[in-house]
C-alpha cells in the first residue's frame, strides 16, 4: 500500500481534508448510542486490515503536513517538548520502539539498519537519511525523544513509574485537547487528571492506573478518547486559547457541517525495555461533521450521543454553548432506526438514511 501524502494546513486557511479512505478508517469512538467515561482499555494487537488499529504506529495521509505543523508549533513555543533529566534513557527506548515498529510495519517508507550501536535511519516521506550512534546523544541534533517525535504523528507523554504511580516526566505535546505539558510536567496520574469531572468519583482513575502499571513489554494496550474542535486545528493548546477560543463562536447553521470536527484520540500504552517507563502516544484524528454524515450508522449514533451526553462532559469538553446548534444539524441524520453494535461503519449492512 502506498500512501499519497496530503499537502494541507491545520491553521490559517485550514486546507486539511480527509480522503474517502481516511473517512472510512476514521476511529469513530462510540460503540453504542450513548457515552460515559469508563476504563475502556483493550490490548493493542493489530486490528482489521487498513484500520488505524492495524499497525503499532499508524501512518496516514496527514503525516507530512502534521510534522510540518509540529515544527511550527515548536518554533513558536519550545516548551511544548520537555524531558526531565532522568528521562533520557526512556527517550532512547522510545526512539528504538518507533524506528523498529515503523521500519517493520512500513518497509517502503522507513528503513532501519543496525550494526551494533551504529544505526542508520531512513525516513523517506520526510527526506531523512541519518547515521548515528544509539545511546550517544552527541550524534543526534536534539534529544532522542524530540528527534523521533518530530517524525511521528500524535503527542507523546513519557511516564516514569515509581512509588506506585506514574509521573509525567517527559513529553512532546503539540496536538493536545487543551492541556499544558509545561504545567503538568512532573505531576502524577491523579494530579494531571485532576480537572476531569465525574471519573475520579467513579473510581475510573484508580482502576486505570492499576491496569497501566501492569502493562508488560511487548503487550501494549489502547483506548479511544474524543472531544470537539471547531476548524481542523491541531494545536488546541491552553497556551494559545486566547487566540483560538474565538473560533468556537464562528459556527453558523450554514458552516457547521464543514467547520465542526469530531476530534478522536487513539491512545496507546507501551512499556519501554531499559527505563521501565511507559510511553503514552496520543494520536489525534479529525473528521468534519459533513464527512461523518456520509456513514449512516455514525450519523444516527452521533446525534444520540451528543443529545444525551451529561452536561458536565459537554462543559468539560468545551462545546456546551454549541450543543444546540450541533443537535439541530445532527437531527436530520437520525431517522430513529436501530444501530449495530461496535465502532465500524458497516457500510454494506447498515440501512441508508430514510426520510
Amino acid at each position: 500500500m502506498t500512501i499519497q501524502f496530503n499537502n494541507e494546513s491545520f491553521r490559517d486557511d485550514y486546507s486539511f481534508y480527509n480522503s474517502e479512505r481516511a473517512i472510512k478508517r476514521f476511529p469513530f469512538p462510540f460503540h453504542e448510542d450513548s457515552y460515559m467515561y469508563s476504563v475502556n482499555m483493550e490490548q493493542h494487537r493489530g486490528g482489521p486490515v487498513d484500520s488505524v488499529y492495524e499497525m503499532r504506529f499508524d501512518v496516514d495521509e496527514h503525516y507530512v503536513s502534521e510534522m510540518r505543523d509540529r515544527a511550527m508549533v515548536l518554533a513558536d513555543d519550545p516548551l511544548r517538548c520537555q524531558s526531565l533529566p532522568h528521562m533520557t534513557l526512556a527517550g532512547w527506548d522510545l526512539l528504538e520502539l518507533i524506528m523498529v515498529s515503523k521500519s517493520e510495519d512500513y518497509p517502503d517508507l522507513f528503513e532501519l539498519h543496525r550494526d551494533g550501536n551504529k544505526w542508520r535511519w531512513i525516513n523517506k516521506p520526510l527526506g531523512i537519511d541519518h547515521s548515528f550512534t544509539f545511546l550517544d546523544e552527541a550524534t543526534l541534533p536534539c534529544g532522542p525523544m524530540e528527534y523521533i517525535t518530530r517524525q511521528a504523528q500524535g503527542d507523546f507523554a513519557v511516564l516514569d513509574q515509581r512509588d506506585d504511580n506514574l509521573w509525567m516526566d517527559a513529553g512532546m505535546v503539540t496536538t493536545q485537547a487543551d492541556w499544558s505539558l509545561d504545567f503538568d510536567i512532573g505531576m502524577n496520574f491523579f494530579e494531571w487528571h485532576a480537572p476531569v469531572p465525574l471519573a475520579h468519583e467513579k473510581g475510573i482513575f484508580v482502576r486505570a492506573l492499576k491496569f497501566l502499571m501492569n502493562i508488560q513489554q511487548g503487550a501494549p494496550a489502547r483506548r479511544l478518547n474524543w472531544t470537539m474542535t471547531v476548524n481542523p486545528l491541531l494545536d488546541t493548546s491552553p497556551e494559545n486559547y486566547h487566540k483560538w477560543g474565538i473560533q468556537k463562536t464562528e459556527l453558523t447553521p450554514q458552516n457547521i457541517g464543514a467547520k465542526q470536527h469530531l476530534r478522536v484520540e487513539l491512545q496507546t500504552f507501551f512499556r519501554l525495555p531499559r527505563s521501565n517507563a511507559l510511553v503514552f502516544p496520543i494520536r489525534c484524528y479529525l473528521c468534519s461533521f459533513q464527512d461523518l454524515m456520509g456513514v449512516p450508522k455514525w450519523g444516527r449514533r452521533l446525534h444520540r450521543v451528543i443529545r444525551d451526553l451529561p452536561e458536565e462532559l459537554a462543559t468539560y469538553k468545551g462545546f456546551i454553548d454549541n450543543r444546540p446548534m450541533m443537535l439541530d444539524y445532527l437531527k436530520d441524520f437520525d431517522d430513529g432506526l436501530p444501530t449495530s453494535p461496535g465502532i465500524w461503519p458497516e457500510l454494506d449492512t447498515e440501512p441508508p438514511l430514510t426520510r
Binding site: D182, G186, W192, A194, Y241, H242
Partner: protein
C-alpha cells in the same frame, strides 16, 4: 488563632495540615507572616526542638521577630521578602545533612516555592510538613505568557505581565508552585465578570 478552611477541591490542589514535632537531627522552619504563629504553637508543645532549629521568617508586614527569637533557635533569620530570603534558603538546604526535617507555614505561595527548593535539595515532598496561616492569596501562572502574578486575591484578575483577564483555576503545579490562570474572555472579548474574592 483562626485558620482558614479551604473548600474541598481537585486532586492537584495541595492540602495543608498542622505542624507536628518530628524526631530529627535538625529542624528547618520557613515561614511568612502569620505562619510565625504555627512555629510558636509548635514550640509550646515541643520546646526542646528549638535547640536544633533554624527559623527563616519572612515578615510580610508582621512583627513576630521578638517572639520567635525568644524561642532560642539555633539559627534565626528575618527577611523582608521571599526573594530576599531565597539565597539563604538554598544554601541552608544544600548544606543539610540526613535527618533534616522541613516545616513550612504561612501563605500558599511561600509554602509552594519553599517546598520546591526542598524537593530540589532531595527531600521528598511527602516528607515536608505544611500549615496554612494568614492570607489566602494565590500565586498564579498565566498559561499564555507564563508570567507569575503573586498574591492574587480576586477571580478574575489581570495578568501582571501580559494584561489578559484570567480566571483562577484550582489546577496546581508543584513544579511551578502556582495555580493556573486562563483567559476568561477569549470567546467573548471584553465580557469580563465582576471581580470577587477567590473564596467568596
Amino acid at each position: 488563632m483562626s485558620t482558614f478552611a479551604f473548600p474541598p477541591s481537585i486532586k492537584s490542589r495541595p492540602v495543608y495540615g498542622t505542624l507536628e514535632p518530628q524526631a530529627g537531627a535538625a529542624h528547618m522552619f520557613i515561614v511568612d507572616g502569620e505562619g510565625a504563629n504555627a512555629v510558636l504553637d509548635l514550640a509550646q508543645r515541643a520546646p526542646s526542638m528549638m535547640q536544633l532549629a533554624h527559623i527563616v521568617y519572612i515578615t510580610r508586614g508582621t512583627d513576630f521577630a521578638a517572639a520567635l527569637k525568644a524561642l532560642n533557635p539555633a539559627q534565626f533569620y528575618q527577611g523582608p521578602t521571599y526573594g530576599a530570603a531565597l539565597p539563604r534558603i538554598r544554601r541552608s538546604l544544600a548544606d543539610a545533612k540526613m535527618g533534616l526535617q522541613v516545616y513550612l507555614a504561612g501563605t500558599e505561595g511561600l509554602m509552594g516555592q519553599a517546598m520546591n527548593e526542598a524537593v530540589i535539595a532531595g527531600i521528598p515532598h511527602t516528607a515536608i510538613q505544611t500549615e496554612h496561616r494568614g492570607a489566602t492569596a494565590r500565586r498564579m501562572q498565566c498559561v499564555h505568557c507564563k508570567g507569575i502574578t503573586e498574591d492574587v486575591e480576586t477571580d478574575p484578575f489581570v495578568c501582571s505581565h501580559c494584561g489578559l483577564n484570567l480566571f483562577v483555576r484550582d489546577h496546581y503545579s508543584r513544579r511551578i508552585a502556582a495555580f493556573q490562570g486562563v483567559c476568561i474572555d477569549a470567546e467573548d472579548p471584553g465580557n469580563v465578570p465582576v471581580q470577587k474574592g477567590i473564596y467568596e
